[in-house]
């Protein structure tokens, strides 16, 4: 039995279906990536899994408890890192941690120990007595995480934890996530619209778009969904703009996009011919600098499955 079972969840806002019959299961110790573009339904699913919103149909079972029947038992097992900086800005980091510690039933010596531990893990020991409104964006993000791990949750839900922060803080969050998973066997649900983050951290992935499942499973099996495609990177220059459109028309080319001087192709292994692409480039005045074949990333998987970029 999985630690988290989400079964046939549907949610509507008025007539709009924002989650359409979503089913997934997460095992203990997984780092589970929930990815999709903005508005795909990630946060709605998180809000339902944490008991904030009710679903219109379906059920959520966490740690053996039905969320609708025993919501408090479920909530005790979860630590939520919201997408927003959900902190009291007018008080200190310590006071914020104390507040959330009390909510999870911590008190006295244990509470103090856990606060110190959370501050240490997130590298904020020296900032404990500072008011949060004086923190940088990265420090706030880290405190946002610290507040979620005080009670040593079995499940840590991190909803877009790296939005708007510097690379140093981002790396700190990656390290922390791996450490929590490795040392405490914490199950992590990590939502993001940065595919590279999920690719790097997660062992299982659920791709969602427009409230529907696009792909679900471990990374390898998801990539195999588009295994008939080769990923070809061509570095070229001096070509005319209409060349991209011409490449797209070639047989076997499933997708062609241009990004920072690189022409990225998703091509069918069976019908694609590289010579045809080289001819089109030459006929548009282009000069080729390099050609590389790569395994598709999750970004490309999303592109292949939905026909659009994740951050469109």
């Amino acid at each position: 039995m999985s630690l988290i079972e989400v079964k046939n969840i549907t949610k509507r806002f008025g007539h709009k279906v924002v989650l359409d019959n979503i089913t997934l299961a997460i095992d203990e110790g997984d780092i589970f990536g929930l990815i999709g573009p903005n508005g795909a339904g990630k946060s709605t699913l998180i809000n339902i899994m944490t008991g904030l919103w009710d679903s219109d149909s379906g059920e959520v079972i966490i740690g053996g408890y039905d969320l609708k029947k025993e919501p408090l038992k479920v909530k005790e097992q979860i630590g939520l890192v919201p997408q927003e900086i959900a902190l009291f800005e007018g008080i200190t980091a310590y006071d914020n941690l104390e507040f959330f510690g009390y909510l999870y039933g911590l008190k006295g010596k244990l509470l103090k120990e856990r606060i110190n531990e959370a501050l240490e893990v997130t590298g904020l020991q020296n900032k404990r007595k500072e008011k949060v409104n004086r923190f940088s964006g990265g420090m706030k993000r880290r405190l946002n995480i610290a507040c979620a791990i005080l009670h040593h949750p079995r499940i840590l839900i991190m909803d877009e934890p790296t939005v708007g922060i510097d690379p140093q803080s981002r790396n700190h969050i990656f390290k922390f996530t791996r450490r929590m998973n490795k040392e405490n066997n914490t199950t992590v649900i990590y939502t993001s619209h940065y595919m590279e983050e999920v690719e790097m951290l997660c062992n299982k992935v659920f791709i969602i778009d427009l409230g529907q499942e696009v792909a679900y499973g471990d990374k390898k099996s998801i990539k195999s969904m588009i295994s008939n495609n080769d990923r070809i990177l061509i570095e070229a220059f001096d070509y005319r703009r209409e060349m991209i459109q011409a490449i797209k028309q070639l047989p076997g080319v499933n997708e062609c996009i241009e990004e920072k001087g690189l022409i990225k192709l998703l091509a069918d292994k069976n019908s694609f011919r590289l010579e045809a692409v080289l001819k089109v480039i030459e006929s548009h005045g282009g000069k080729i600098k390099s050609i590389n074949f790569e395994e598709p990333s999750l970004e490309e998987v999303f592109l292949a499955l939905t026909g659009r970029n994740l951050r469109d």
Binding site: D54, L72, P82, A86, L87, I91, Y102, L103, K107
Partner: protein, 388 residues
């Protein structure tokens, strides 16, 4: 422990931002009330704690009757109101020649009261009223004496007269003054009036702050985060309400006690004052909580802004309105002001200083609070699990 978490956070947050909050909720309304109260001082009938009137008497009659009047004004009971002096007087009482004869001949010889620059018109009117009533009683006395002389037997006249004089003297020395003091006490001083006006203003500001605080909590995701913890919607609602209530009581007590310490307003029974503060704070907190639940940010802010404007305009315009149409407009403003119930409670407290005078208002406030609380609770339960 969860309730403690809410209360501690509100208290810490209040203390850490105390200077700003003091400026907004205490210093600003206090200063406005004090400044406007000071400049409107002579527009208001004074209360029982009114200053003693400094009087100079010019006796141009020098009769037994005029000496009796001076004796009355110098009497023990009048010392609470009047101080007779030879110079630097605020009021000059001129007893004209023929004053005494006027009683015998049934002729009206009016006493003139001149109010100097240092005097107050309202107090001068009160002095004139006291002297008028004294004259009425003296006239009555003469009439009774005349009848006794006409009708009673010579051996009965003296005893009868003595009994009647002593009864009248009793009325002069006690009832007349008390009557005037009670009349005066039924109005507030300018400080008292504006302390109540700006109290309403402050209360609306505090309510606005609570409502906006709740919206920010939701907008910033703090609400979602709290609700992801093992806490029910009803617990959250109640803990939030209790911690907000403490916040409201703190600032309201600060406001009324500041006035009280300076002796300018809220000077009646301390126990009653605290009871009023506790009950009306409950009303304000529950109302603010309900508004934040059922209305969107813009709508609730618009409503509160409108209420503040109506309340403050009504409170400040009260004095000029009082002079129009026998004070009808002022009474309408007083009755229909958004803070009418709370203001009338404080007014009754200031004037009568007794539980009986405010018990109905307190009961109404308590009942309204309970009804609003019940509506809020139902709303929380019905809307549970819905997206805000």
């Amino acid at each position: 422990m969860k309730l403690l978490a809410f209360i501690k956070t509100v208290l810490k947050s209040t203390l850490k931002n105390l200077l700003n909050q003091l400026l907004i909720f205490s210093v600003f309304p206090l200063l406005l009330g004090l400044v406007i109260g000071y400049f409107s001082e002579d527009q208001f009938v004074p209360s029982a704690e009114m200053p003693v009137m400094k009087i100079m008497i010019k006796d141009e009659d020098n009769s037994a009757e005029s000496n009796n009047l001076i004796g009355f004004l110098e009497g023990q009971e009048m010392k609470r109101l009047v101080e007779i002096r030879e110079e630097d007087a605020q009021y000059i009482v001129a007893i004209p020649e023929g004053y005494g004869q006027g009683f015998l001949n049934n002729r009206d010889i009016p006493i003139e009261i001149e109010i100097t620059d240092e005097g107050f018109e309202s107090l001068g009117n009160m002095l004139a009223e006291i002297i008028d009533k004294y004259n009425e009683e003296i006239y009555l006395n003469y009439m009774i004496q005349k009848r006794i002389e006409e009708k009673a037997l010579p051996e009965e006249r003296e005893g009868l007269s003595q009994r009647i004089y002593s009864k009248i003297a009793e009325v002069y020395s006690h009832g007349l003054i008390e009557n005037n003091i009670i009349t005066a006490k039924k109005s507030l001083t300018s400080y008292e009036h504006f302390s109540i006006t700006f109290f309403g203003y402050m209360l609306f500001l505090i309510m606005m702050s609570l409502i906006n605080g709740e919206y920010i909590t939701r907008e910033k995701g703090v609400y979602s985060r709290i609700m992801a913890a093992p806490i029910t919607d009803v617990q959250y609602f109640n803990y939030n309400l209790i911690s907000s209530y403490i916040f409201v009581v703190f600032f309201i007590l600060l406001y009324v006690l500041t006035y009280r310490i300076f002796g300018l307003s809220f000077t009646g029974s301390l126990v009653l004052l605290i009871v009023i503060v506790l009950i009306q704070s409950l009303l304000g907190t529950v109302l603010a909580t309900l508004l934040s639940l059922i209305l969107r940010k813009k709508a609730s802010n618009a409503i509160l802004n409108a209420l503040i404007t109506i309340q403050i305009v009504g409170g400040v315009a009260y004095v000029p309105l009082k002079k129009i149409g026998d004070g009808v407009l002022a009474r309408i403003v007083e009755k229909y002001s958004p803070d009418a119930l709370i203001a009338s409670t404080y007014r009754s407290y200031l004037i009568y200083d007794g539980f009986n005078s405010i018990k109905i208002q307190l009961m109404i406030m308590a009942v309204i609070s309970l009804v609003l609380y019940a509506i809020s609770l139902i709303w929380v339960k019905v809307r549970r699990g819905e997206a805000w």
